[in-house]
Symmetry: C2
Subunit: 305 residues, 2 copies
């Protein structure tokens, strides 16, 4: 098992089918990814507004990393060993974006201090840091998607559960997988209704592994106590439909549930929710839904390895 390091200068701005690796590793290897904040350092104070920056330089992802032996049909497992943000981050209000944008005078930038596991918003409001990564994905089967978008390959999944301890199973669609990660948040809430979390630079440690001959349709995340399939669509209703189908497929194909019992089990024992659901969000950004399937009795794994 080897240790590697990638600089935050080695980034991609979109996921497509033709990514070329900047690093090749073996299964079991650990890579420390230096990551830029989503604005690539263009916003450093409350005087820097999102309307004044170069919007071509957002959501960089460090990589790509090829994992030897990962072939189409396999799953590439990215286990997040640690997420270490720096000591300050920003959130922004962006004209046109978010459920409350009509009520505010946008644009606006808010600076946060991050110390000792806490995030300080102002003298009255502090809350716990929950560092996680927003953009995390692999090469696509054919389409070219900017890092702001999510898809079958992952990308801007913006799931706050993608912090320390999460193991994300990506469907490998190109040899080596071609993994990249960025868009760290010191914290973000489900929905991320103003379209930013506490956007921050930092370092992410990832251990890679390969599951041969099995893959889901969408990225599926393992936590200590649950499995989380994801799906995205222009509308919430569409995303909820797709993630319900994916969750049922895992229960039926890997665990022998009838589709009827999968439907019922998802309804009575599992949680449908959203990762990213900022609306309006001009520019083709969809809603990302997840299903939380608890690890209980007959369903310790969605993949019957």
């Amino acid at each position: 098992m080897a240790q590697h390091r990638l600089s935050r200068d080695q980034v991609i701005w979109s996921f497509g089918p033709g990514l070329q690796p900047v690093l090749e590793v073996e299964p079991g290897d650990v890579v420390t990814f230096e990551t830029n904040d989503c604005f690539t350092g263009q916003i450093r104070s409350e005087d820097d507004l999102v309307t004044d920056i170069d919007l071509e330089r957002i959501n960089s992802a460090t990589g790509p990393v090829a994992v030897r032996g990962a072939e189409p049909g396999d799953s590439l497992i990215a286990e997040i060993l640690d997420v270490r943000p720096i000591e300050w981050g920003v959130a922004t209000l962006i004209p046109g974006f978010g459920q409350l944008i009509e009520q505010v005078q946008a644009p606006l930038t808010r600076l946060f201090e991050v110390h000792d596991g806490m995030i300080r918003m102002n003298e009255r409001v502090s809350f716990p840091a929950k560092p996680m990564v927003g953009v995390v994905g692999v090469a696509t089967g054919g389409e070219e998607l900017s890092n702001g978008l999510a898809g079958l390959h992952g990308g801007n999944l913006d799931d706050h559960f993608h912090g320390k301890g999460a193991r994300i199973y990506f469907p490998v669609r190109q040899p080596g997988g071609m993994f990249a990660v960025g868009d760290m948040h010191a914290a973000m809430g489900d929905g991320e209704i103003c379209f930013t979390g506490v956007e921050i630079a930092g370092e992410v440690d990832i251990r890679f592994d390969v599951l041969k001959g099995k893959q889901a349709t969408w990225p599926v995340t393992e936590l200590a106590d649950a499995w989380l399939p994801h799906a995205t669509h222009d509308t919430y209703e569409g995303a909820a439909q797709l993630v319900s189908e994916e969750a049922a497929r895992l229960l039926v194909e890997e665990h022998g549930f009838s589709v009827e019992d999968a439907f019922i089990f998802l309804s009575v024992a599992c949680d449908l929710g959203v990762a990213q659901a900022c609306k309006p969000a001009p520019g083709g950004f969809g809603t990302i839904a997840r299903f939380t399937i608890p690890k209980i009795d007959a369903c310790p794994l969605p993949f019957a390895v």
Copy 2:
């Protein structure tokens, strides 16, 4: 402080402005409500199908209870002290309802055994019981809404957090509030995608209190560690919009947040989610959204009493 008991024969089938109380209590009193399952006992085995029952007799709520001193402009607080289901419940697949209904041969009834805090689905699948109430509400300001529907008054909120320990703040719109509760679930998941949880009869203990001169627009629930405003709309996007506005209103009006900081705080530190989001759901059933606002530092309460 007095103890009271209401039989499961004393029920209402809709919430309107003109409810007449079957019981009057003082603030601080505790009432034990016997509740029917949502099918009013018409489904007792896997041979009983939802297509064969009287659909006029669903979602009964036991009550109404008038609380002395509760006047329009106040909040009626219903604290759920305990939820005790019986030892069996059912889930059903209903033609036309739910994200996976196209894949199954509906209708279907599944019987669950409930013992020692666990729910047994079949010989392979058991999972923890999380007893809660689906229908819980007060008299409306004017409209008449069947118990299957949710609204500004509560009703079929179907939030799995409405179990033991939850304190629900209802906006009082008629003298006495006129509280009723039913539709117990031994468990249900967020989304409740087949439109039923583990539907079950039982008993619910509620302690009442009144908060004078303050109310939210929608029912707001206090948990040990969070406040949960709710809202409903035909579409998820509409419900998410309304609950975001309600959550921001609480932060601005009760805590002195600027609307900009409320928008950002909700995005980076609070979770947008769904209670009930079964789609399709013919018959005017909407989506119920909730926002989870953690109790931290400056926001221990949404109501600055």
